[in-house]
Amino acid sequence: MTTVASTVPVARRRLGFDPSKPVLVAFAVILFALIVMPLSWLMFYAFSSKSGGFTLDNFHRLVTDAAYLDPLLTTFALATLAALICCVVAAPMGWLVARTDMPLRRTVRLLVTASFVTPPFLGAIAWELLAAPNSGLLNQLYRELTGAGQGVHLLNIYSFTGLVFVISCYTFPYVFVLVANSLDRTPGDLEDASAILGGKAWDTARRITIPLALPSMLAGALVAFLQAMTLFGSPAILAMPAGFHTMTTKIWSLFQFPPQPELAAAASLPLLLLTVLLLRAEHMVLGRRGYSVVGAKNSEPRIVRLGRWRWVMLIAAMLVLMCPVFLPYFALLNASFSKVASHLVWFNNFTFHNLHFVFYELSATQLALRNTFILGTLAATVGTVLALVIAYVHVRQAVSGYRVLGFLATAPVAIPGIVLGVGLFFTYTRPPFVLYGTLWILLIAFVTLNMPAAYQQLQSAFKAVHPELEDASRILGATRLRALWQITAPLLRTSVIATWCFIFVGVIRELSAAVMLFTSETKVLSVLIYDLNESGDLAAIAVLGLLMLLITFGIVALANSLKFGGARRLSAPS
């Protein structure tokens, strides 16, 4: 026998250690501080009596005292209705833009994006201008047209219905986007297969298209429900004048003097619990059916010809978009240049005074703008980096605890903004971390709240980059970090920029956590607007609101231009 004596070189171990492990541990610790600590304090307080001992009294009061039980039920009804309305309105619209030849489909999508990035509290204020029973522009118009007398009104925004409507206006994009995207991704083959087997258009829609889009609609409805449940601004603006509380405004009022933090903590838990339960339930409903589509080739979906109906449908879609976009924007624009916010601008009452007031007289404007920009930039940068690393670790399964990291990064989905605000307040007003009063605490809140979405985005981006691209670099001698930096990072650039912008916009529109955590030095734009609303300074709000929208659209446009400019060049060859 001959021995094949091929000399195997002893694997050369790199002496300098791979710095990626400690980096990953550090990120795990950060996530822990962001999420686990505030929630632990929240739990602790919820089960504490005023003197600091263990008690269940807080919960007892929560379920027996009508002052707490009513808001809880109201919130539930509110969120359910909003989610239903979203489905009824947004799902057909999603189908229209994804599967029909309705004209201006791109424009419709763009306008939905506009309503998506419009801060809900701003929408609520704009709708005050439009549909306050007496001074609302639409009610004035109605009286003008019908000749009805004083006190007669068509719409009353200060009501439960009004609140449901306004909340639906700004949560329907969740359902729309998810349904439209799902229909975009569903291969046309699946519908063609039904057609060729004899399925008529309606059969195919009922048995194939709708069931396939259903999980996305469910997911969208769930997000809409959670948003409606945890929203603070709109109820604070509309529910109080209407004479009722929702859970979030109730929690907030518990911090009024004298503060009852234990009760606030206890009141937060139902929101948290419900969120977790709903997210679990979603998994159970979907069950074994893999809704992710099987098979490789993504065929073009067949477009449904609407014929004459295409214009009717476009008008319907535009009518829907009147509510979150055209009318409110118009109302804000009008109020910005009118001497009296509820009067239609005309030559005799046109004024630049409101602009002058906001930019030259209102001393908080500059500070709030600066803080918003600083926080937006910091939160977007920190959040993106954090999400990037965690997404990488999770997708490449780089460390043994990657599942925990992934879970922690997704967990804030279940934490309503105001609850996180309460938790952070408990955590960072005491040694060793006294961050209250600094921008840091707001930064923590914003990063935490935006983490799940950022993480999801980047995770799917990472999945699209084949690990072999990275392996090819490592086999040539690059460390993991270097491979990440030189190979993966450039390929991910578009997603990273999109995520960055997404967080930035998220920071601009965040109110519920900010309102718990700001101090005079750390005021942000959203809180400034909220404060102005409290004293009824609608004109100043209109100006600031438009400014806010301009900044937001600027960022969105930037993200889009980079996306379209860079995508083709950077898409990996397949």
């Binding site: 063609d192 059969d203 048995r207 074994r288 099987v294």
Partner: protein, 353 residues
């Protein structure tokens, strides 16, 4: 069941004719393969037949019934056809059984009949144990069989298959080819089968239509297509072929590298450049000088031992390289002069371009 007839069928997107004036008749109960490289228009042709796409010109008839024309097009659901998609297009929210009986339910059959038919097709396709699974839980081959079962159970007049095997691995692909043919022989539906894989076409088809750039280059039985290619494209696409560029001498001969070659096939015009194809295993190779017609002197550039055969690359005087396959025993070293014999009946003069 009925024949399918395509008449002057054209589909244009803008100025580009993706399908360009195709005429083809598929006899009742026959299996026709549309064979060609990607982008040749074969899938569009199939979708025209299915009714997903409407023709710009021409028409499609099934039996005596006009189903597609530029002015009138029967929707797919009214054509009584079945189709197997490249992606299989299994509905992920339905179980295997639900997927399969979908078409029967649309036809409003009673429960009992549906049950019987389901059991039968599950047995034929060996899917019975998987009946309650969801598509996401199946392997590629299993998914393919579900797609097949779903298409066959409705007993269509016409069965359309769009690259049904392309997502399978090599072994399974080979097995499924025979399976498709076996099922076709059993049910004898008029079948149109789209593929880019020539051996798949060879195994399954009664008739092969080779497509290129939206046109049918040649249609015929597998033997005809293989032995008597009419164009360089067909010659190269079906099996491997040497295509040599000669010049017409007279009606039967060309001049190649200074040697006259007698050819069969297309008519030769004297003086016209004429491509001629000959398959590597049809060329005789000799280490010693040979006399006679169609003998050519060349040099061995390289040779490789393939186990069952030997693969030579030889170079003619004008620099044209030819591949020659011989028995393994015939070992002629590199650099040697060799005499090639190109049998006239194997030299196919092609339609020059």
């Amino acid at each position: 069941m009925a024949s399918v007839e395509l008449r002057d069928l054209t589909k244009r997107y803008g100025d580009v004719a993706v399908v360009d004036d195709i005429s083809l008749t598929i006899a009742h109960g026959h299996l026709v393969c549309l064979l060609g490289p990607s982008g040749c228009g074969k899938t569009t042709t199939l979708r025209l037949i299915a009714g997903f796409v409407e023709p710009s010109e021409g028409e499609i008839r099934v039996g005596d019934k006009l189903v597609s024309s530029p002015t009138h097009s029967l929707p797919p659901e009214k054509r009584n056809m079945s189709m197997i998609f490249q992606s299989y297009a299994l509905w992920p929210h339905m179980t295997v059984s639900e997927n399969i009986v979908y078409g029967l339910k649309l036809r409003k059959m009673d429960r009992e009949t549906i049950g019987k038919k389901l059991d039968a097709i599950l047995a034929t396709t060996r899917l019975a144990p998987l009946a309650q699974r969801y598509p996401g839980e199946l392997s590629g081959g299993q998914q393919q069989r579900v797609a097949l079962a779903r298409a066959l159970i409705v007993e269509p007049e016409t069965l359309l298959l769009d690259e049904p095997l392309s997502n399978l691995d090599a072994n399974l692909r080979e097995e499924m080819r025979f399976e498709v043919r076996r099922l076709h022989d059993a049910y004898r539906y008029t079948t149109v089968y789209v593929t880019h894989d020539q051996s798949e076409a060879m195994t399954t088809a009664d008739l092969i239509a080779v497509m290129n750039a939206g046109r049918i280059e040649q249609a015929g039985s597998p033997e005809e297509i293989y032995d008597q290619p009419r164009s360089e494209f067909v010659a190269r696409f079906i099996g491997s072929s040497n295509v040599i560029k000669g010049k017409g001498l007279d009606a039967a001969r060309i001049d190649f590298a200074g040697t006259p070659l007698r050819c069969s096939g297309a008519k030769i015009n004297s003086g016209a450049p004429t491509p001629v194809s000959i398959r590597p295993h049809d060329i005789g190779i000799f280490a010693t000088q040979r006399q006679g017609e169609n003998v050519l002197l060349a040099t061995v550039v390289r040779q490789v031992f393939l186990g069952g055969s030997r693969d030579y690359m030889v170079e003619a005087k004008d620099g044209t390289q030819l591949r020659v396959l011989t028995a393994a025993g015939e070992n002629i070293p590199q650099g040697s002069a060799v005499w090639l014999h190109l049998p006239p009946e194997r030299c196919r003069a092609l339609n020059g371009q």
